[in-house]
Symmetry: C2
DNA sequence: GTCTCTTATGACACCGATGACATGACACCG
DNA sequence: CGGTGTCATGTCATCGGTGTCATAAGAGAC
């Protein structure tokens, strides 16, 4: 690979002048510039970032760690990689800042995080982002030197800056929208309460009911999340069957996520109940492959992964440039409700009111 | 950030000795080693890859370019990111070789590839991998210097080494398996023939029929792929309806991919046809969120993305280490048939023969 | 004509590691 | 006891750029 000295020799100038042409940090005569540019083209010269970095002490690198990309060796459970949208958002933001992203993954093994961080530090990354596969608490090894770090889709108890989905608000907005559409008996087939999303969304559900003047009814809520183990379909079947036999059965089922909604579609059809004319269904995640492909298309709440990635990158860049007006605590990012045909409007007259609700 | 000189001073030795402790490339006395290690720990010293790289002329970096991560600004069409499994496979392989992966994406815009390649060359990556979102032909700018490059999930007409899914074999194996199960009228709702997967899979379908002694019947094949535009469900409905009215209707529908199969489930149920007792359905891709969640679970062919990633990394590493016994032409990677409950065995007696067919 | 100011360019050291080579201290050999 | 080999360590140059400073050539001011 050609060096700046080769270029200088061919162009008949000093290396420093070549450097000036490359960086435009001082005026260069027209004839000289052209000679240099021609030499560069002739040699296919590409400057070395390593050398540049040694002097400038800036790497232009951001390290990204995720358990997302490689999962357990026998990936029975994790099927989608939605958090890759977070990476997309990060990448989009960073490209504008001239940063290059290095990426590595833990393969789902937490212990691998430390050596990966070390590798990144050797490359003198200017910032680190850790992306989790779902909204959760994590415990990463502390970074001894001052390299800034951001958590995306997760948080820790050291107060590391975090970007999180606003699960509470998402479920709240969806349920509020259902209430506006006239639904008052709202079944909720929840995720397990052990995970953050499960807890927060249930709270959002309750808050929206309260605002709508609807009493919470425990008979309308069932945890149908078996953590990926088999039997989920049966659990759903039983919960749905039980709720539909109530004296005032639900007119709509909210599901913990879109995947669950996909199962619920099959179950309701097997029961001979038409969606949405006889019973409505809503999901969560806006997992497009499911939500848009299902018939009828699924009403759901967007998990704003891309936006979270953008925010993560922005907040990291702010930390790197040392801006003082730094937010404390986690940044919550809310996603819009995607209103599709899987939910009936029980009172069409109300549609005019809908503008007050956040929608796509 | 501490340097090797700081460590040397604290430990009371020369920088070179510190280097020796770090790299273990020459014997170091026990007492000296311990002094150095203690100094390293005390200073939180992390060696600089940039400096190391300048001398060794080896970066330990691999550049990965993909259009996968960030797609069109208004992502209506691309919903899944299955090719990220390719990245997973690559990453898994590279980690074992001590390589670090840099990643960037074109955002779907081909013109962005050139500057990204340039960025990677500045970092003196030792190899490049381009990953496409689906099996296709691409035209990338040539790499002027000799940096090795691999195409994954795509190919060009310059003969750049490529890793491709064996679509022909996948569809062939699936259909052969269907024949073994007793199906002789096999409907095929295809992807559009303009894309590689559409063509190759159709050929595999025909080849398997021929081997099974079954005549090809054009009435059983319909292109139901509208390139993401609306109306696909209607097109599917019409094709299925027409085929089911044939004097000898198909006993199974093969679908161009799992997403199409998801639609077909809904359509068949709306038509009042039970899957799989009245009619069987098979997909392609083994898109787990769909294939495993659907009821009944979907018989499909695995698109071996992870394996392709592994192969891509292996082939690249072979090129980097300059091994001569280099394969020519594309590497085809076949995925197994995942036999699930969406297809009926018409002749259970035949099950004993199945061992000859590749399965999970 | 001389002084100053700008423009254009070069000389040189330095960033942080490591390869090549040198050196000093022992151990072992005949 | 001198020769030779091994171990442990140091010296110095070097990788490829760029920051700092110096310098030469004109342009314009007085």
């Amino acid at each position: 690979m050609a060096t700046i000295y080769d270029v200088a020799r061919i162009a008949g100038v000093s290396p420093k002048t070549v450097s000036r042409v490359l960086n435009g940090d001082a005026p260069v005569g027209k004839a000289t510039r052209e000679a240099v540019e021609s030499a560069i083209a002739q040699l296919d010269y590409v400057p070395s970032n390593a050398a540049r970095m040694m002097r400038s002490q800036r790497s232009g690198l951001i390290g990204l760690i995720t358990g997302a990309i490689s999962m357990s060796p026998e990936p029975t459970q994790p099927a989608g990689l939605p958090e890759l949208f977070i990476v997309q958002g990060i990448q989009k933001s960073l490209a504008n800042s001239g940063m290059t992203m290095m990426i590595a993954d833990t393969g789902g093994v937490v212990e691998k995080a430390a050596p990966l961080i070390d590798t990144f530090l050797r490359h003198r990354v200017e910032g680190l982002i850790y992306v989790a596969e779902y909204h959760q608490k994590v415990a990463l090894p502390a970074i001894s030197d001052g390299t800034p770090m951001i958590l995306a889709n997760c948080f820790d108890d050291r107060g590391t800056p975090a970007i999180l989905p606003d699960d509470w608000r998402g479920q709240h907005d969806l349920v509020a929208r259902l209430v506006t559409a006239g639904h008052r008996r709202i079944g909720y087939l929840t995720l397990r309460p052990e995970i953050a999303a499960g807890r927060l969304r249930l709270e959002g559900y309750r808050a929206a009911l309260q605002t709508g003047g609807i009493a919470y009814d425990a008979a309308l809520v069932a945890n149908c999340d078996l953590e990926g183990r088999d039997g989920e379909t049966q659990l759903l079947w039983e919960a749905i069957d039980r709720m539909l036999r109530l004296s005032t059965p639900p007119t709509v089922f909210c599901c913990g996520n879109d995947k669950m909604a996909l199962r619920v579609y099959g179950i309701l059809r097997s029961m001979g109940r038409k969606v949405p004319t006889e019973v409505s269904v809503a999901g969560y995640d806006n997992y497009r492959v499911i939500a848009e492909t299902l018939y009828p298309p699924l009403t759901t709440v967007d998990l704003p992964y891309t936006a979270m990635g953008v925010r993560a990158a922005q907040r990291l860049m702010a930390m790197i440039s040392g801006e003082t007006r730094e937010e404390k605590g986690p940044t919550l990012v809310a996603g819009p409700v995607y209103w599709r045909d899987s939910v009936t409007e029980l009172r069409p007259a109300n549609v005019s009111l809908l503008k007050s609700v956040r929608e796509e």
